[in-house]
């Protein structure tokens, strides 16, 4: 199979910060809003270089979403920044009415998504955010896999007109996608071609999917690995084409199996090319404290779990 090299572990939120720094220099309409988490969102450089375009809103996320909506009226491109939990569930009504229903060009940028926030525990983790955001008509939902892709996605969404939810995380994860890879919203990336099973992964689970494919290769199983960085709009064509070939699929995500990528894939397949599917996701549970690695193991969001699910789903063909 294709070889991917980890050029160094780094957090995806730093990809957001790097993307914002670049946007600060290249796009004068971009403004950054933050709810008392400048450092956590890696916005220090943007703030330093563009003090007039950085808005410290304070610990008031509902107000931040409304201000962001208002700033689009006048042509600004607001990027809101806080933890994923406070970027979605806490402000769902504000996003629904003032941003999504009003069709405002706001980029909701959410750090510390999923389980791997770690020690802070369940109140600061969120495993429901993809579902909440993808349910909103007109909302684009993006979950990039590494530093380079998060940076590219940050830059790309500034060019796209419409509300976007961009999700990234805190722990350091392998950085393996090319630094110069163009980010195309809604376009799946084929990481490895295979014939026996399709592994569709998003976010932190993409690297785990590649690791799983390597292990499967050693067992004589040929796995196709697809990186779905955009959950909505979903690249249905890529999914249908792959599963039509392999005949079965494993989806992998750091999110509840309800409402996540797996459900979107299942729907697509159900109405096009029904196939056995296994879900690597949390099983309708809240998280807890622990190191990211411990949590990934306990909740079975890792390469070993993907291998096991692949072997199981192949038998169901």
């Amino acid at each position: 199979m294709k070889t991917y090299t980890n050029t160094g572990n780094i957090d995806t939120r730093s990809g957001y910060g790097a993307g914002m720094t670049e946007l600060g220099r290249t796009n004068k309409n971009v403004v950054a809003l933050c709810a008392d988490l400048t450092g956590s969102l890696k916005l220090n450089e943007f703030e330093k270089e563009n003090p007039e375009r950085f808005f410290q809103i304070g610990i008031a996320e509902a107000n931040m979403m409304g201000i962001a909506a208002g700033m689009t009226i006048g042509g600004k491109i607001p990027f809101t920044g806080t933890f994923a939990n406070f970027s979605t569930g806490r402000v769902y009504d504000q996003i629904r009415q003032s941003i999504a229903y009003s069709g405002k060009n706001v980029k909701i940028c959410a750090s510390h998504a999923g389980l791997t926030l770690g020690e802070d525990g369940a109140t600061h983790q969120i495993l429901e955010d993809i579902g909440l955001m993808k349910m909103l008509p007109g909302m684009t939902v993006i979950n990039p896999c590494d530093f380079n892709q998060t940076k590219a996605a940050t830059i790309a969404i500034a060019e796209y007109i419409g509300p976007v939810y961009l999700r990234f995380g805190r722990p350091s994860v392998p950085n393996f996608t090319p630094a110069d890879q163009k980010f195309e919203i809604g376009k799946a990336i084929m990481l490895n071609e295979g014939t026996d099973v399709t592994i569709i992964a998003t976010g932190h689970l993409v690297w785990q999917a590649l690791e799983a494919a390597k292990t499967l290769e050693g067992k004589g199983i040929s796995a196709e690995v697809i990186n779905i960085h955009t959950i909505k709009p979903l690249d249905e064509e890529a999914i249908i084409k792959s599963v039509a070939k392999t005949g079965c699929v494993v989806t992998a995500e750091e999110h509840n199996y309800l409402g996540g990528l797996g459900e979107s894939v299942a729907r697509t397949l159900a109405i096009n090319t029904p196939a056995p599917q296994e879900f690597i996701a949390t099983q309708d549970t809240f998280g807890e404290s622990g190191t990211p690695a411990q949590l990934m193991d306990k909740y079975e969001l890792n390469a070993a779990a993907i291998v096991k699910a692949s072997e199981k789903v192949i038998k169901r063909k």
Binding site: N63, G66, A69, G70, G74, S98, Y101
Partner: protein, 281 residues
């Protein structure tokens, strides 16, 4: 100032529009709409600097945000009477396939509406955002907003009030429609608001009062005074005392007509109290 007789005629005609719109679909919110008629007429006819036509960004013109979206009848009527869309379209209020939804939205592309409202408490944040964008654009025009007094029970308002005061958003004029009524009763009974003006003041706002918000001349005078206080480092709050259901005797002094439509006889009675001036739609 525009001819006062014309403005008063417009107020009466807007009242007729509100009553007929709500009666036509047997749903909607006449009480608060009637109470804000003088304000909306004054704002759009006399106070705001507006460009011809409509564009979403509204650069180089004053902007208005209606936060208490349920008083959409008065908003739609004034927008139509000020040329944003055909007056005849008022007849489609709350009907299927209409651009005039029960609560205003940008979704249907209705000229004059820049954000959806209806879920209460969000409008001031949006108005602040629009005011900040004006500052970034070096656009010296103003942003106006209207909020129900009951609506101030929503906590997001206080996040916004704190922000605008602390950050000196001084191109913003937020107006509170102090009619003292909400769905379940008086604001005093449901959740007492206390001294609203004082609350804004301690959050760093410049506050002024319009004692009779149903007196057109007082409203115009008060809003001009508010305009003169912008650009001085503080956001400006206008507390405007109004009477819910103003202009229709049986709708006044009660919260009963917050969200209830008049029947045929009641409509006739109400219209008789407000004889046609500029022509019904």
């Amino acid at each position: 100032m525009a001819d006062l007789k014309y403005l008063n005629d417009l107020v009466v005609q807007v009242r007729r529009d509100i009553l007929r719109m709500v009666h036509n679909v047997n749903s909607g919110h006449p009480g608060g709409s009637l109470g804000c008629t003088e304000f909306m007429v004054a704002l759009y006819s006399e106070i705001m600097e507006r460009k011809e036509g409509f564009d979403m960004d509204g650069i180089n013109e004053d902007l208005f945000f209606l936060s208490n979206g349920h008083i959409s009848p008065v908003f739609y009527s004034v927008l139509a009477r000020c040329g944003y869309f055909p007056v005849e379209e008022l007849g489609t209020f709350r009907l299927i396939d209409s651009r005039l939804q029960g609560h205003p939205t940008t979704h249907e592309g209705l000229p004059g509406v820049r954000v959806a409202s209806g879920s209460l408490g969000q409008g001031m944040s949006v108005a602040i955002g629009a005011a900040l964008a004006k500052k970034l654009n070096n656009d010296t025009h103003l942003v106006f907003s209207l909020h129900g007094d009951g609506e101030l029970q929503e906590g997001q308002n206080w996040e916004a009030i704190m922000y605008a005061g602390a950050k000196g958003v001084d191109n913003l004029i937020a107006t509170v429609d102090r009619n003292g009524q909400q769905i379940d009763g008086s604001t005093k009974e449901v959740l007492c608001l206390g001294d609203v003006g004082e609350k804004f003041r301690v959050f760093g706002w410049d506050v002024l009062h319009i004692e009779n918000g149903n007196n057109l001349e007082q409203v115009i005078k008060g809003l001009n005074e508010a305009k003169s206080r912008t650009g001085k480092g503080k956001p400006v709050c206008v507390i405007m005392t109004t009477e819910m259901g103003n202009g229709v005797d049986y709708m006044m002094h009660t919260h009963a007509w917050h969200g209830k439509a008049p029947n045929d006889d009641q409509l006739e009675n109400a219209l008789a109290q407000n004889p046609e001036t500029l022509g019904d739609y």
